[in-house]
C-alpha cells in the first residue's frame, strides 16, 4: 500500500437497495449484511463522516479497530484495497472503490470536551460527533454505549503525518460527488456521525449532507 489509490465503482445507483441522505450533524445507524456494498457519497464536498463498525452478532465484543487496520496494511491512510480490521483480527469490510483517495483513522471524533481543549473552553455547548454517537446508541437496542466508542474512521478527512512526527488537519481533498465504497465481509452494524464541526478547516467550516447507498450482492 502506498497511499492514494483512486478507483471508480461499476455499481449503478439506480440498482441500490437503500439510498438515504444524512444531514450534517445527524447520526446514522444501519445493519449491513455480508456481501452488500456500502457507498458514502460526499454530496457537497469536504465533509467528514465519522464512522464505526460493530459485529452484528457480537456488537459488544467485536468492533472496528483503527490500530489493527494500520498494522495490517502498514500504512496510516485508508484508500482502495484497505481492509477494515476488527479488534479480533477479522476483516469487517474492504474498501473497493475510492474517488477521494485518502481517509483518516487517527483523528478520532469530536466531542464537547475535546472541542473545549482544541478550540476554547467556551465551545462546550457546540454540537459534536460523540453526542451524535451517544444519542444513536442510547436510543438503539444493541447494548452499546460510551465504552464502545473506540478509534473511528473519518471518511474524506485529510490528516497527514510527517516523518518528524507532525500531525496536521489539512483542507479536505474531497469534493462534491466523490465517494468511498466498501464491501461488507461480515454482518455489521455501521454507526455514522455526519460531523457537525464548525471549528475545523477540514470541511471549510461548513458541514454538509452525505448520501448512503447500499447494494445487495447480486444486483450490481
Amino acid at each position: 500500500m502506498t497511499g492514494i489509490n483512486l478507483v471508480e465503482s461499476p455499481l449503478d445507483p439506480a440498482n441500490a437497495v437503500c439510498r438515504e441522505v444524512v444531514p450534517a450533524g445527524e447520526p446514522w445507524l444501519k445493519e449491513l449484511r455480508k456481501g452488500q456494498t456500502l457507498r458514502i457519497l460526499d454530496l457537497e464536498g469536504n465533509q467528514a463522516v465519522d464512522t464505526l463498525f460493530y459485529s452484528l452478532e457480537r456488537p459488544t465484543v467485536e468492533r472496528y479497530s483503527a490500530i489493527d487496520t494500520l498494522q495490517a496494511q502498514g500504512n496510516v491512510y485508508l484508500t482502495t484495497g484497505t481492509k477494515l480490521m476488527s479488534n479480533e483480527g477479522n476483516v469487517m469490510l474492504t474498501i473497493t472503490a475510492d474517488t477521494c483517495g485518502r481517509h483518516d483513522t487517527l483523528g478520532g471524533a469530536c466531542a464537547a470536551e475535546s472541542n473545549q481543549v482544541r478550540y476554547g473552553l467556551e465551545k462546550k455547548s457546540m454540537h459534536s460527533c460523540r453526542d451524535s454517537f451517544l444519542r444513536a446508541l442510547s436510543e438503539s437496542d444493541y447494548g452499546l454505549g460510551k465504552r464502545d466508542l473506540a478509534s473511528n474512521i473519518n471518511f474524506f478527512m485529510n490528516v497527514p503525518l510527517t516523518p518528524e512526527g507532525g500531525l496536521t488537519f489539512e483542507d479536505g481533498i474531497s469534493d462534491a460527488g466523490k465517494y468511498v465504497e466498501m464491501r461488507v465481509e461480515m454482518d455489521v452494524l455501521v454507526l455514522v456521525s455526519n460531523c457537525p464541526q464548525l471549528n475545523n478547516p477540514c470541511n471549510a467550516y461548513n458541514p454538509t449532507p452525505v448520501e448512503m447507498l447500499i447494494w445487495d450482492p447480486a444486483k450490481g
Binding site: M1, L70, Q71, E113, S114, V117, L149, S151, T162, L167
Partner: protein, 245 residues
C-alpha cells in the same frame, strides 16, 4: 534532567517489571511515575483510566490532534476522552514515544517468534501484549471493550510521505527514562510485551524499572501546561475536576 540511576528523594515505591509481564496501579494526583528502560530494549504498552469513572480513559486521537503530533515527548500531555489531562510527560530522555502502533496478539507472537507455551518453557513462555492487557484489565472489571488504542513508551513509529509506517529500533538507549506526572488520579495498566513492529527476530523484550515519587504542586510556569494552549485548557478542565478537593 535528573539522573535515572538516582531515585528522587520523595520516592515512595520502586519496582521492576521483567520483559513480557504486566503491572497496574492507581497513580495518585501529585505523584509521578518514572519508567526506566535499563537495557534499551523495553517497550512499555500502557492504557489509562480514571478510577472514579472507568468510562473516562486515555484517548489517542484527542491526545494527538490536541497537540498536533504523532510523537509524544517532554511537554506533551496524555489526554482523557473527557478533555482532561491524566498524565504529563515532565521528563524524557528517549525523545519519542508511540501511540499508533498498537499491541501484539497471540498469533503475531507465534508467527514472529515461534510457539513457547508454559508447559514446556515454564515462566520463560512467550506472551502477547493483548493477553497481558486483558489479564490485568480484568482485575479492574475491564475487558475487551475497554482495550482502546494504547501507548507504547520507548518505541518510535513514524510515517513516510506515502503513509508507510516505519519502526526505529534505535530509539531508546540503555538507561533512558520518561517521567509521567499524574494530574488526576489515574489507573495505569501496562505491560512489557514487544512492540508489534519490532523487527528483532527473537522474543527478548526488555524489563522496565518503575518508581513512584511525590511531586510538588504544578507551578504557573509549568513546562507541560504552557507547552501548548490546548494543554493549558485541558489542564484548566482538570483543575475544575479537583475543585472540591
Amino acid at each position: 534532567m535528573s539522573d535515572p540511576d538516582t531515585l528522587p528523594e520523595t520516592t515512595v515505591h520502586h519496582d521492576r517489571v521483567p520483559g513480557g509481564r504486566y503491572w497496574s496501579m492507581v497513580i495518585r494526583r501529585g505523584f509521578t511515575l518514572r519508567l526506566v528502560d535499563r537495557e534499551g530494549k523495553a517497550n512499555v504498552s500502557m492504557l489509562l483510566y480514571s478510577p472514579q469513572n472507568l468510562l473516562e480513559r486515555y484517548n489517542m486521537a484527542d491526545t494527538l490532534k490536541g497537540q498536533h503530533t504523532s510523537r509524544l515527548t517532554r511537554g506533551n500531555m496524555l489526554y482523557s476522552d473527557m478533555g482532561r489531562v491524566m498524565l504529563s510527560i515532565v521528563e524524557d530522555t528517549a525523545g519519542w514515544h508511540d501511540t499508533i502502533g498498537g499491541t501484539t496478539r497471540d498469533a503475531d507472537i507465534v508467527r514472529k517468534y515461534g510457539e513457547h507455551r508454559y508447559q514446556q518453557y515454564r515462566n520463560d513462555f512467550y506472551r502477547s501484549g493483548r493477553e497481558l492487557f486483558l489479564i490485568e484489565l480484568a482485575k479492574w472489571g475491564l475487558g475487551k471493550r475497554d482495550l482502546v488504542s494504547n501507548l507504547n513508551f520507548f518505541s518510535k513509529v513514524y510515517a513516510g510521505a506515502d503513509g508507510v509506517l516505519h519502526f526505529d529500533p534505535e530509539n531508546s538507549r540503555p538507561g533512558d527514562h520518561v517521567d509521567l506526572r499524574a494530574e488526576m488520579d489515574t489507573l495505569v495498566v501496562l505491560n512489557t510485551a514487544p512492540h508489534p513492529m519490532d523487527p528483532a527476530p527473537v522474543y527478548d523484550p526488555g524489563p522496565v524499572e518503575l518508581s513512584i515519587y511525590h511531586t510538588p504542586p504544578v507551578a504557573a510556569d509549568d513546562y507541560c501546561v504552557n507547552f501548548r494552549t490546548e494543554n493549558a485548557r485541558a489542564f484548566a478542565n482538570t483543575v475544575i475536576h479537583h475543585c472540591q478537593g
